[in-house]
Symmetry: C2
Subunit: 283 residues, 2 copies
Protein backbone atom coordinates (compact mmCIF):
# COMPACT_ATOMS: atom_id res chain seq x y z
CA UNK A 1 0.00 0.00 0.00
CA UNK A 2 2.74 2.37 1.03
CA UNK A 3 4.80 1.43 -2.00
CA UNK A 4 1.92 2.08 -4.38
CA UNK A 5 1.32 5.48 -2.78
CA UNK A 6 4.97 6.22 -3.11
CA UNK A 7 5.11 5.16 -6.74
CA UNK A 8 2.09 7.30 -7.51
CA UNK A 9 3.68 10.25 -5.76
CA UNK A 10 6.88 9.73 -7.67
CA UNK A 11 5.02 9.45 -10.92
CA UNK A 12 3.32 12.73 -10.19
CA UNK A 13 6.66 14.34 -9.39
CA UNK A 14 8.10 13.04 -12.67
CA UNK A 15 5.23 14.57 -14.57
CA UNK A 16 5.80 18.01 -13.16
CA UNK A 17 7.27 20.60 -15.50
CA UNK A 18 10.79 22.02 -15.64
CA UNK A 19 10.98 25.71 -14.70
CA UNK A 20 13.20 27.75 -17.02
CA UNK A 21 13.84 31.46 -16.54
CA UNK A 22 15.71 34.30 -18.15
CA UNK A 23 15.77 38.08 -18.02
CA UNK A 24 13.76 38.08 -21.26
CA UNK A 25 13.66 36.24 -24.54
CA UNK A 26 17.29 35.05 -24.69
CA UNK A 27 16.65 32.01 -22.52
CA UNK A 28 14.42 30.64 -25.24
CA UNK A 29 17.59 29.39 -26.93
CA UNK A 30 18.07 27.20 -23.85
CA UNK A 31 14.40 26.20 -23.73
CA UNK A 32 14.71 25.23 -27.41
CA UNK A 33 17.61 22.90 -26.59
CA UNK A 34 15.65 21.31 -23.72
CA UNK A 35 12.68 20.78 -26.06
CA UNK A 36 15.00 19.06 -28.54
CA UNK A 37 16.87 16.85 -26.11
CA UNK A 38 14.07 16.14 -23.64
CA UNK A 39 10.91 15.98 -25.76
CA UNK A 40 8.92 14.30 -22.97
CA UNK A 41 9.36 17.16 -20.52
CA UNK A 42 6.87 19.90 -19.87
CA UNK A 43 8.32 23.40 -19.48
CA UNK A 44 7.18 26.51 -17.63
CA UNK A 45 9.18 29.44 -19.00
CA UNK A 46 9.42 32.85 -17.35
CA UNK A 47 10.97 35.89 -19.09
CA UNK A 48 11.43 39.02 -16.95
CA UNK A 49 10.57 41.39 -19.81
CA UNK A 50 9.57 44.20 -17.42
CA UNK A 51 13.10 44.43 -16.03
CA UNK A 52 15.21 43.15 -18.91
CA UNK A 53 18.20 43.31 -19.37
CA UNK A 54 20.04 41.91 -16.33
CA UNK A 55 23.48 42.16 -17.94
CA UNK A 56 24.08 45.75 -16.86
CA UNK A 57 22.72 45.35 -13.35
CA UNK A 58 24.38 44.69 -10.00
CA UNK A 59 24.78 41.42 -8.11
CA UNK A 60 22.27 42.46 -5.42
CA UNK A 61 19.58 43.37 -7.92
CA UNK A 62 20.09 40.21 -9.98
CA UNK A 63 19.80 38.07 -6.85
CA UNK A 64 16.63 39.89 -5.75
CA UNK A 65 14.98 39.48 -9.15
CA UNK A 66 16.03 35.81 -9.42
CA UNK A 67 14.60 35.02 -5.97
CA UNK A 68 11.23 36.47 -6.97
CA UNK A 69 11.20 34.36 -10.14
CA UNK A 70 12.11 31.17 -8.29
CA UNK A 71 9.25 31.82 -5.86
CA UNK A 72 6.89 32.24 -8.82
CA UNK A 73 8.13 29.04 -10.51
CA UNK A 74 7.60 27.12 -7.27
CA UNK A 75 3.93 28.13 -7.35
CA UNK A 76 3.85 26.35 -10.73
CA UNK A 77 4.91 23.07 -9.08
CA UNK A 78 8.11 22.68 -11.08
CA UNK A 79 10.31 19.69 -10.32
CA UNK A 80 13.58 21.41 -11.26
CA UNK A 81 14.75 24.85 -12.31
CA UNK A 82 17.11 25.90 -15.09
CA UNK A 83 18.60 29.38 -14.77
CA UNK A 84 18.78 30.06 -18.51
CA UNK A 85 20.48 33.43 -18.08
CA UNK A 86 24.21 33.76 -17.75
CA UNK A 87 24.05 36.92 -15.61
CA UNK A 88 21.65 35.25 -13.15
CA UNK A 89 23.67 32.01 -13.22
CA UNK A 90 26.79 34.03 -12.50
CA UNK A 91 25.45 35.94 -9.52
CA UNK A 92 22.38 34.19 -8.14
CA UNK A 93 22.81 30.44 -8.67
CA UNK A 94 24.94 29.73 -5.61
CA UNK A 95 22.57 31.69 -3.38
CA UNK A 96 19.48 30.04 -4.85
CA UNK A 97 20.92 26.52 -4.50
CA UNK A 98 21.02 27.02 -0.74
CA UNK A 99 17.47 28.33 -0.58
CA UNK A 100 15.40 25.91 -2.64
CA UNK A 101 14.76 22.21 -2.09
CA UNK A 102 14.44 21.21 -5.74
CA UNK A 103 17.38 20.74 -8.12
CA UNK A 104 18.53 23.93 -9.81
CA UNK A 105 21.16 24.29 -12.51
CA UNK A 106 22.61 27.21 -14.44
CA UNK A 107 24.19 27.62 -17.84
CA UNK A 108 27.67 28.65 -16.71
CA UNK A 109 29.00 25.36 -15.34
CA UNK A 110 27.87 23.49 -18.44
CA UNK A 111 29.51 26.06 -20.70
CA UNK A 112 32.75 25.89 -18.72
CA UNK A 113 32.83 22.09 -18.92
CA UNK A 114 32.26 22.06 -22.67
CA UNK A 115 34.98 24.62 -23.23
CA UNK A 116 37.54 22.64 -21.24
CA UNK A 117 36.72 19.56 -23.30
CA UNK A 118 37.02 21.51 -26.53
CA UNK A 119 40.25 23.46 -26.04
CA UNK A 120 43.51 22.10 -27.37
CA UNK A 121 45.86 24.96 -26.54
CA UNK A 122 44.36 25.80 -23.12
CA UNK A 123 43.30 29.31 -24.10
CA UNK A 124 39.56 29.92 -23.73
CA UNK A 125 37.66 33.12 -24.47
CA UNK A 126 34.31 34.13 -22.98
CA UNK A 127 32.00 36.75 -24.46
CA UNK A 128 29.08 37.84 -22.29
CA UNK A 129 27.30 40.77 -20.65
CA UNK A 130 29.08 43.18 -18.33
CA UNK A 131 27.51 41.45 -15.31
CA UNK A 132 28.70 37.97 -16.31
CA UNK A 133 32.21 39.11 -17.22
CA UNK A 134 32.41 41.29 -14.11
CA UNK A 135 31.52 38.31 -11.91
CA UNK A 136 34.54 36.33 -13.17
CA UNK A 137 32.40 33.20 -12.86
CA UNK A 138 33.54 31.40 -16.03
CA UNK A 139 37.13 31.98 -14.99
CA UNK A 140 36.46 30.55 -11.53
CA UNK A 141 34.70 27.41 -12.79
CA UNK A 142 37.31 26.72 -15.46
CA UNK A 143 40.28 27.34 -13.18
CA UNK A 144 38.77 25.09 -10.53
CA UNK A 145 38.75 22.21 -13.00
CA UNK A 146 42.01 22.98 -14.78
CA UNK A 147 44.19 25.69 -13.30
CA UNK A 148 46.52 25.65 -16.32
CA UNK A 149 43.83 26.99 -18.61
CA UNK A 150 43.96 30.68 -19.48
CA UNK A 151 40.55 32.40 -19.61
CA UNK A 152 40.01 35.76 -21.27
CA UNK A 153 36.63 37.47 -20.81
CA UNK A 154 35.20 40.24 -22.96
CA UNK A 155 31.94 42.12 -22.31
CA UNK A 156 29.96 42.81 -25.50
CA UNK A 157 27.10 45.12 -24.43
CA UNK A 158 25.91 45.93 -27.97
CA UNK A 159 25.33 42.32 -29.05
CA UNK A 160 21.99 41.98 -27.20
CA UNK A 161 20.43 45.14 -28.67
CA UNK A 162 21.76 44.21 -32.13
CA UNK A 163 20.16 40.76 -31.86
CA UNK A 164 16.90 42.25 -30.58
CA UNK A 165 16.90 44.72 -33.50
CA UNK A 166 17.14 41.71 -35.82
CA UNK A 167 20.59 42.53 -37.24
CA UNK A 168 21.70 38.90 -37.00
CA UNK A 169 23.65 39.08 -40.24
CA UNK A 170 24.55 42.65 -40.99
CA UNK A 171 27.65 44.75 -41.75
CA UNK A 172 27.10 46.74 -38.52
CA UNK A 173 27.10 43.56 -36.44
CA UNK A 174 30.22 42.42 -38.35
CA UNK A 175 31.96 45.70 -37.49
CA UNK A 176 31.00 45.58 -33.80
CA UNK A 177 32.05 41.91 -33.62
CA UNK A 178 35.44 42.82 -35.07
CA UNK A 179 35.96 45.48 -32.41
CA UNK A 180 34.93 43.26 -29.53
CA UNK A 181 36.73 40.12 -30.68
CA UNK A 182 40.08 41.37 -31.99
CA UNK A 183 41.79 41.13 -28.62
CA UNK A 184 40.59 37.53 -28.21
CA UNK A 185 42.01 36.68 -31.65
CA UNK A 186 45.29 38.40 -30.79
CA UNK A 187 45.68 36.30 -27.64
CA UNK A 188 45.23 33.15 -29.73
CA UNK A 189 42.25 31.51 -28.01
CA UNK A 190 41.09 28.33 -29.74
CA UNK A 191 37.72 28.07 -27.94
CA UNK A 192 35.08 30.74 -27.39
CA UNK A 193 32.13 30.44 -25.00
CA UNK A 194 28.96 32.23 -26.15
CA UNK A 195 28.28 33.34 -22.58
CA UNK A 196 24.95 35.08 -23.15
CA UNK A 197 21.79 33.38 -24.34
CA UNK A 198 21.31 35.91 -27.13
CA UNK A 199 24.64 35.15 -28.76
CA UNK A 200 23.81 31.82 -30.43
CA UNK A 201 21.57 33.90 -32.70
CA UNK A 202 24.65 35.70 -34.09
CA UNK A 203 26.76 32.57 -34.05
CA UNK A 204 27.57 32.84 -37.77
CA UNK A 205 28.86 36.42 -37.41
CA UNK A 206 30.99 35.49 -34.42
CA UNK A 207 32.24 32.37 -36.21
CA UNK A 208 33.16 34.34 -39.33
CA UNK A 209 35.07 36.89 -37.26
CA UNK A 210 36.96 34.34 -35.16
CA UNK A 211 37.84 32.11 -38.11
CA UNK A 212 37.45 28.35 -38.65
CA UNK A 213 40.10 27.31 -36.11
CA UNK A 214 38.16 28.58 -33.10
CA UNK A 215 35.51 26.29 -31.59
CA UNK A 216 32.35 28.10 -30.49
CA UNK A 217 30.71 26.70 -27.38
CA UNK A 218 26.98 27.22 -26.86
CA UNK A 219 26.24 26.45 -23.18
CA UNK A 220 22.57 25.83 -24.04
CA UNK A 221 23.41 22.47 -25.61
CA UNK A 222 25.43 21.22 -22.67
CA UNK A 223 22.91 22.62 -20.15
CA UNK A 224 20.09 20.57 -21.66
CA UNK A 225 22.41 17.56 -21.61
CA UNK A 226 23.29 18.10 -17.94
CA UNK A 227 19.61 18.55 -17.09
CA UNK A 228 18.81 15.22 -18.74
CA UNK A 229 21.59 13.47 -16.83
CA UNK A 230 20.47 15.01 -13.55
CA UNK A 231 16.81 14.07 -14.02
CA UNK A 232 17.85 10.50 -14.86
CA UNK A 233 20.14 10.26 -11.82
CA UNK A 234 17.41 11.53 -9.52
CA UNK A 235 14.67 9.43 -11.10
CA UNK A 236 12.81 12.57 -12.07
CA UNK A 237 12.68 12.05 -15.82
CA UNK A 238 9.30 12.02 -17.47
CA UNK A 239 8.86 8.58 -18.95
CA UNK A 240 6.48 9.43 -21.75
CA UNK A 241 5.34 12.35 -23.82
CA UNK A 242 2.34 14.01 -22.15
CA UNK A 243 -0.91 13.11 -23.89
CA UNK A 244 -2.96 15.31 -26.14
CA UNK A 245 -4.79 17.94 -24.15
CA UNK A 246 -1.86 18.45 -21.78
CA UNK A 247 -0.25 21.83 -22.21
CA UNK A 248 3.37 20.96 -22.95
CA UNK A 249 4.90 24.41 -22.74
CA UNK A 250 3.64 27.43 -20.83
CA UNK A 251 5.14 30.90 -21.09
CA UNK A 252 4.94 33.72 -18.56
CA UNK A 253 6.43 37.21 -18.79
CA UNK A 254 6.40 40.31 -16.60
CA UNK A 255 5.52 42.63 -19.49
CA UNK A 256 4.64 42.97 -23.17
CA UNK A 257 3.41 39.45 -23.97
CA UNK A 258 2.77 40.26 -27.63
CA UNK A 259 6.34 41.30 -28.31
CA UNK A 260 7.66 38.24 -26.47
CA UNK A 261 5.44 35.98 -28.49
CA UNK A 262 6.63 37.49 -31.77
CA UNK A 263 10.28 37.02 -30.84
CA UNK A 264 9.63 33.52 -29.48
CA UNK A 265 8.03 32.49 -32.72
CA UNK A 266 11.15 33.57 -34.62
CA UNK A 267 13.34 31.35 -32.39
CA UNK A 268 11.25 28.29 -31.62
CA UNK A 269 10.34 25.75 -34.23
CA UNK A 270 6.65 25.76 -33.39
CA UNK A 271 4.20 28.59 -32.74
CA UNK A 272 3.61 29.81 -29.19
CA UNK A 273 -0.08 30.11 -28.57
CA UNK A 274 0.16 32.73 -25.85
CA UNK A 275 2.28 34.16 -23.09
CA UNK A 276 0.69 35.34 -19.86
CA UNK A 277 1.73 38.50 -18.02
CA UNK A 278 2.23 38.22 -14.25
CA UNK A 279 3.26 40.79 -11.63
CA UNK A 280 6.66 39.40 -10.63
CA UNK A 281 7.27 42.04 -7.93
CA UNK A 282 4.54 40.36 -5.88
CA UNK A 283 6.57 37.19 -5.43
CA UNK B 1 0.07 86.77 12.61
CA UNK B 2 -1.67 84.50 10.16
CA UNK B 3 -0.01 86.27 7.25
CA UNK B 4 3.44 85.79 8.74
CA UNK B 5 2.77 82.09 9.24
CA UNK B 6 1.57 81.86 5.68
CA UNK B 7 4.60 83.67 4.32
CA UNK B 8 6.88 81.41 6.28
CA UNK B 9 5.05 78.37 4.99
CA UNK B 10 5.31 79.64 1.47
CA UNK B 11 8.96 80.39 1.88
CA UNK B 12 9.52 76.84 3.02
CA UNK B 13 7.58 75.54 0.05
CA UNK B 14 9.71 77.66 -2.30
CA UNK B 15 12.84 76.22 -0.84
CA UNK B 16 11.82 72.66 -1.46
CA UNK B 17 13.60 70.78 -4.26
CA UNK B 18 12.35 69.89 -7.72
CA UNK B 19 11.91 66.14 -8.26
CA UNK B 20 13.27 64.91 -11.59
CA UNK B 21 13.03 61.31 -12.72
CA UNK B 22 14.01 59.10 -15.61
CA UNK B 23 14.36 55.41 -16.38
CA UNK B 24 18.13 55.81 -15.93
CA UNK B 25 20.85 58.26 -16.82
CA UNK B 26 19.23 59.90 -19.86
CA UNK B 27 17.19 62.33 -17.78
CA UNK B 28 20.41 63.94 -16.64
CA UNK B 29 20.36 65.91 -19.91
CA UNK B 30 17.11 67.44 -18.62
CA UNK B 31 18.50 67.94 -15.11
CA UNK B 32 21.52 69.67 -16.69
CA UNK B 33 19.21 72.13 -18.47
CA UNK B 34 17.31 72.84 -15.23
CA UNK B 35 20.62 73.46 -13.42
CA UNK B 36 21.58 75.92 -16.17
CA UNK B 37 18.32 77.81 -16.38
CA UNK B 38 17.25 77.64 -12.72
CA UNK B 39 20.50 77.84 -10.76
CA UNK B 40 18.67 78.64 -7.51
CA UNK B 41 16.67 75.44 -7.47
CA UNK B 42 17.55 72.32 -5.54
CA UNK B 43 17.03 69.02 -7.38
CA UNK B 44 16.29 65.47 -6.23
CA UNK B 45 17.01 63.16 -9.18
CA UNK B 46 15.89 59.55 -9.40
CA UNK B 47 17.14 57.15 -12.11
CA UNK B 48 15.46 53.73 -12.28
CA UNK B 49 18.67 51.90 -13.16
CA UNK B 50 17.36 48.55 -11.88
CA UNK B 51 14.61 48.49 -14.48
CA UNK B 52 16.08 50.59 -17.29
CA UNK B 53 15.16 50.92 -20.16
CA UNK B 54 11.47 51.89 -20.27
CA UNK B 55 11.42 52.43 -24.04
CA UNK B 56 10.66 48.80 -24.88
CA UNK B 57 8.08 48.28 -22.13
CA UNK B 58 4.29 48.46 -22.10
CA UNK B 59 2.01 51.31 -21.01
CA UNK B 60 0.85 49.43 -17.88
CA UNK B 61 4.39 48.70 -16.70
CA UNK B 62 5.59 52.25 -17.36
CA UNK B 63 2.65 53.66 -15.38
CA UNK B 64 3.30 51.27 -12.49
CA UNK B 65 7.01 52.15 -12.32
CA UNK B 66 6.30 55.89 -12.62
CA UNK B 67 3.77 55.77 -9.78
CA UNK B 68 6.33 54.15 -7.48
CA UNK B 69 8.88 56.83 -8.33
CA UNK B 70 6.43 59.68 -7.74
CA UNK B 71 5.62 58.19 -4.33
CA UNK B 72 9.33 58.09 -3.54
CA UNK B 73 9.89 61.69 -4.68
CA UNK B 74 6.99 62.82 -2.49
CA UNK B 75 8.81 61.40 0.54
CA UNK B 76 11.62 63.80 -0.41
CA UNK B 77 9.25 66.78 -0.03
CA UNK B 78 9.58 67.97 -3.61
CA UNK B 79 7.52 71.01 -4.64
CA UNK B 80 7.14 69.94 -8.28
CA UNK B 81 8.02 66.95 -10.46
CA UNK B 82 9.59 66.81 -13.91
CA UNK B 83 9.11 63.54 -15.80
CA UNK B 84 12.43 63.66 -17.63
CA UNK B 85 11.75 60.54 -19.65
CA UNK B 86 9.85 60.62 -22.91
CA UNK B 87 8.43 57.10 -22.52
CA UNK B 88 7.08 57.92 -19.04
CA UNK B 89 5.83 61.32 -20.21
CA UNK B 90 4.07 59.62 -23.11
CA UNK B 91 2.27 56.98 -21.07
CA UNK B 92 2.17 58.01 -17.41
CA UNK B 93 1.96 61.81 -17.24
CA UNK B 94 -1.78 62.15 -17.75
CA UNK B 95 -2.45 59.48 -15.12
CA UNK B 96 -0.01 61.00 -12.62
CA UNK B 97 -1.41 64.52 -13.05
CA UNK B 98 -4.73 63.29 -11.69
CA UNK B 99 -3.13 61.53 -8.74
CA UNK B 100 -0.69 64.05 -7.26
CA UNK B 101 -1.41 67.43 -5.72
CA UNK B 102 1.84 69.13 -6.74
CA UNK B 103 2.60 70.41 -10.24
CA UNK B 104 4.02 67.82 -12.60
CA UNK B 105 5.31 68.36 -16.12
CA UNK B 106 6.76 66.10 -18.79
CA UNK B 107 9.14 66.61 -21.68
CA UNK B 108 6.74 65.81 -24.52
CA UNK B 109 4.50 68.89 -24.48
CA UNK B 110 7.52 71.20 -24.36
CA UNK B 111 9.14 69.38 -27.27
CA UNK B 112 5.95 69.54 -29.31
CA UNK B 113 5.58 73.30 -28.70
CA UNK B 114 9.17 74.02 -29.72
CA UNK B 115 8.80 71.98 -32.89
CA UNK B 116 5.66 73.83 -33.94
CA UNK B 117 7.44 77.13 -33.43
CA UNK B 118 10.45 75.93 -35.42
CA UNK B 119 8.84 74.34 -38.48
CA UNK B 120 8.39 76.36 -41.65
CA UNK B 121 6.99 73.69 -43.98
CA UNK B 122 4.73 72.01 -41.41
CA UNK B 123 6.53 68.65 -41.58
CA UNK B 124 7.92 67.51 -38.23
CA UNK B 125 9.84 64.32 -37.50
CA UNK B 126 10.10 62.61 -34.11
CA UNK B 127 12.77 60.08 -33.20
CA UNK B 128 12.28 58.21 -29.93
CA UNK B 129 11.97 54.80 -28.28
CA UNK B 130 9.44 52.21 -29.40
CA UNK B 131 7.22 53.09 -26.41
CA UNK B 132 7.13 56.81 -27.16
CA UNK B 133 6.55 56.33 -30.89
CA UNK B 134 3.97 53.62 -30.24
CA UNK B 135 2.03 55.95 -27.93
CA UNK B 136 1.55 58.51 -30.74
CA UNK B 137 1.81 61.21 -28.07
CA UNK B 138 3.90 63.75 -30.03
CA UNK B 139 1.49 63.42 -32.92
CA UNK B 140 -1.49 64.02 -30.60
CA UNK B 141 0.00 67.10 -28.93
CA UNK B 142 1.14 68.65 -32.20
CA UNK B 143 -2.10 67.96 -34.03
CA UNK B 144 -4.11 69.42 -31.15
CA UNK B 145 -2.28 72.72 -31.57
CA UNK B 146 -2.03 72.74 -35.36
CA UNK B 147 -3.94 70.08 -37.22
CA UNK B 148 -2.28 71.02 -40.52
CA UNK B 149 1.11 69.85 -39.34
CA UNK B 150 2.31 66.48 -40.55
CA UNK B 151 4.15 64.40 -37.92
CA UNK B 152 6.31 61.40 -38.80
CA UNK B 153 7.60 59.23 -35.96
CA UNK B 154 10.51 56.79 -36.13
CA UNK B 155 11.59 54.42 -33.35
CA UNK B 156 15.39 54.14 -33.04
CA UNK B 157 16.00 51.32 -30.53
CA UNK B 158 19.77 51.11 -31.10
CA UNK B 159 20.51 54.75 -30.28
CA UNK B 160 20.29 54.27 -26.49
CA UNK B 161 22.71 51.31 -26.35
CA UNK B 162 25.07 53.09 -28.76
CA UNK B 163 25.08 56.18 -26.52
CA UNK B 164 25.58 54.05 -23.41
CA UNK B 165 28.49 52.26 -25.11
CA UNK B 166 30.08 55.69 -25.64
CA UNK B 167 29.91 55.61 -29.46
CA UNK B 168 28.71 59.24 -29.60
CA UNK B 169 30.78 59.97 -32.72
CA UNK B 170 31.52 56.78 -34.55
CA UNK B 171 31.10 55.29 -38.03
CA UNK B 172 28.75 52.64 -36.62
CA UNK B 173 26.47 55.30 -35.14
CA UNK B 174 26.67 57.19 -38.46
CA UNK B 175 25.55 54.06 -40.32
CA UNK B 176 22.68 53.30 -37.94
CA UNK B 177 21.59 56.95 -38.03
CA UNK B 178 21.51 56.81 -41.83
CA UNK B 179 19.26 53.75 -41.75
CA UNK B 180 16.85 55.18 -39.20
CA UNK B 181 16.68 58.69 -40.63
CA UNK B 182 16.54 58.17 -44.41
CA UNK B 183 12.76 57.94 -44.51
CA UNK B 184 12.46 61.19 -42.53
CA UNK B 185 14.79 62.90 -45.02
CA UNK B 186 12.80 61.47 -47.94
CA UNK B 187 9.55 62.90 -46.58
CA UNK B 188 11.18 66.33 -46.40
CA UNK B 189 10.75 67.19 -42.70
CA UNK B 190 12.38 70.50 -41.71
CA UNK B 191 12.23 69.95 -37.94
CA UNK B 192 13.24 66.91 -35.91
CA UNK B 193 12.39 66.33 -32.25
CA UNK B 194 15.03 64.42 -30.27
CA UNK B 195 12.31 62.53 -28.41
CA UNK B 196 14.51 60.53 -26.05
CA UNK B 197 16.72 62.03 -23.38
CA UNK B 198 19.75 60.08 -24.61
CA UNK B 199 19.63 61.57 -28.09
CA UNK B 200 21.05 65.04 -27.35
CA UNK B 201 24.33 63.20 -26.73
CA UNK B 202 24.43 62.13 -30.40
CA UNK B 203 23.06 65.44 -31.63
CA UNK B 204 26.05 66.02 -33.91
CA UNK B 205 25.64 62.64 -35.65
CA UNK B 206 21.90 63.21 -36.12
CA UNK B 207 22.55 66.77 -37.34
CA UNK B 208 25.18 65.63 -39.82
CA UNK B 209 22.83 62.95 -41.20
CA UNK B 210 19.81 65.23 -41.48
CA UNK B 211 21.76 68.13 -43.03
CA UNK B 212 21.93 71.84 -42.15
CA UNK B 213 18.36 72.67 -43.23
CA UNK B 214 16.70 70.56 -40.55
CA UNK B 215 16.21 72.14 -37.11
CA UNK B 216 16.86 69.76 -34.22
CA UNK B 217 14.63 70.28 -31.20
CA UNK B 218 15.88 69.18 -27.77
CA UNK B 219 12.84 69.06 -25.46
CA UNK B 220 15.13 69.40 -22.41
CA UNK B 221 15.72 73.09 -23.12
CA UNK B 222 12.05 73.97 -23.46
CA UNK B 223 11.11 71.77 -20.48
CA UNK B 224 13.42 73.71 -18.16
CA UNK B 225 11.97 76.92 -19.60
CA UNK B 226 8.39 75.74 -18.99
CA UNK B 227 9.30 74.67 -15.46
CA UNK B 228 10.69 78.14 -14.76
CA UNK B 229 7.54 79.82 -16.08
CA UNK B 230 5.32 77.51 -14.08
CA UNK B 231 7.21 78.05 -10.81
CA UNK B 232 7.05 81.81 -11.35
CA UNK B 233 3.32 81.72 -12.08
CA UNK B 234 2.63 79.68 -8.98
CA UNK B 235 4.97 81.69 -6.76
CA UNK B 236 7.06 78.59 -6.14
CA UNK B 237 10.38 79.86 -7.47
CA UNK B 238 13.34 79.78 -5.14
CA UNK B 239 14.38 83.41 -4.65
CA UNK B 240 18.03 82.80 -3.87
CA UNK B 241 20.75 80.25 -4.29
CA UNK B 242 20.82 77.92 -1.28
CA UNK B 243 23.69 78.75 1.06
CA UNK B 244 26.86 76.80 1.50
CA UNK B 245 26.25 73.62 3.42
CA UNK B 246 22.91 73.01 1.69
CA UNK B 247 23.01 70.03 -0.58
CA UNK B 248 21.96 71.50 -3.92
CA UNK B 249 21.55 68.28 -5.89
CA UNK B 250 20.81 64.80 -4.62
CA UNK B 251 20.84 61.66 -6.74
CA UNK B 252 19.05 58.38 -6.10
CA UNK B 253 19.05 55.23 -8.22
CA UNK B 254 17.51 51.77 -7.94
CA UNK B 255 20.78 50.00 -8.83
CA UNK B 256 24.48 50.31 -9.63
CA UNK B 257 25.26 53.73 -8.14
CA UNK B 258 28.92 53.61 -9.25
CA UNK B 259 28.07 53.21 -12.90
CA UNK B 260 25.45 55.95 -12.70
CA UNK B 261 27.94 58.27 -11.08
CA UNK B 262 30.51 57.64 -13.80
CA UNK B 263 28.03 58.38 -16.56
CA UNK B 264 26.64 61.40 -14.71
CA UNK B 265 30.10 62.86 -14.41
CA UNK B 266 30.55 62.61 -18.18
CA UNK B 267 27.33 64.58 -18.78
CA UNK B 268 27.14 67.12 -15.97
CA UNK B 269 29.54 70.02 -15.73
CA UNK B 270 30.40 69.34 -12.11
CA UNK B 271 31.27 66.17 -10.22
CA UNK B 272 28.55 64.19 -8.47
CA UNK B 273 29.72 63.24 -5.03
CA UNK B 274 27.51 60.20 -4.66
CA UNK B 275 24.30 58.54 -5.70
CA UNK B 276 22.27 56.54 -3.20
CA UNK B 277 20.60 53.23 -3.99
CA UNK B 278 16.99 52.80 -2.83
CA UNK B 279 14.55 49.89 -3.20
CA UNK B 280 11.98 51.46 -5.52
CA UNK B 281 9.67 48.44 -5.49
CA UNK B 282 8.83 49.30 -1.88
CA UNK B 283 7.12 52.56 -2.85
Amino acid sequence: MDITMCEKEEQLLCNRPIGVFDSGVGGLTVAREIMRQLPNERIVYFGDTARVPYGNKSRETIIKFSRQIVRFLQTQQVKAIVVACNSASAYALEVLEKEVDIPIIGVVKSGAMSAIQATRNGKIGVIATEATIGSGIYNRYIQAIDSNTVVLGKACPLFVPLVEEGLWEDPVTDEIAKRYLTELIDVGIDTLILGCTHYPLIRSTVGKTMGPDVTLVNPAYETAHELKRMLQDMGLESGHRPGLGTELYRFFVSDAADKFQKFANSILTYGILSAKVINIEEF
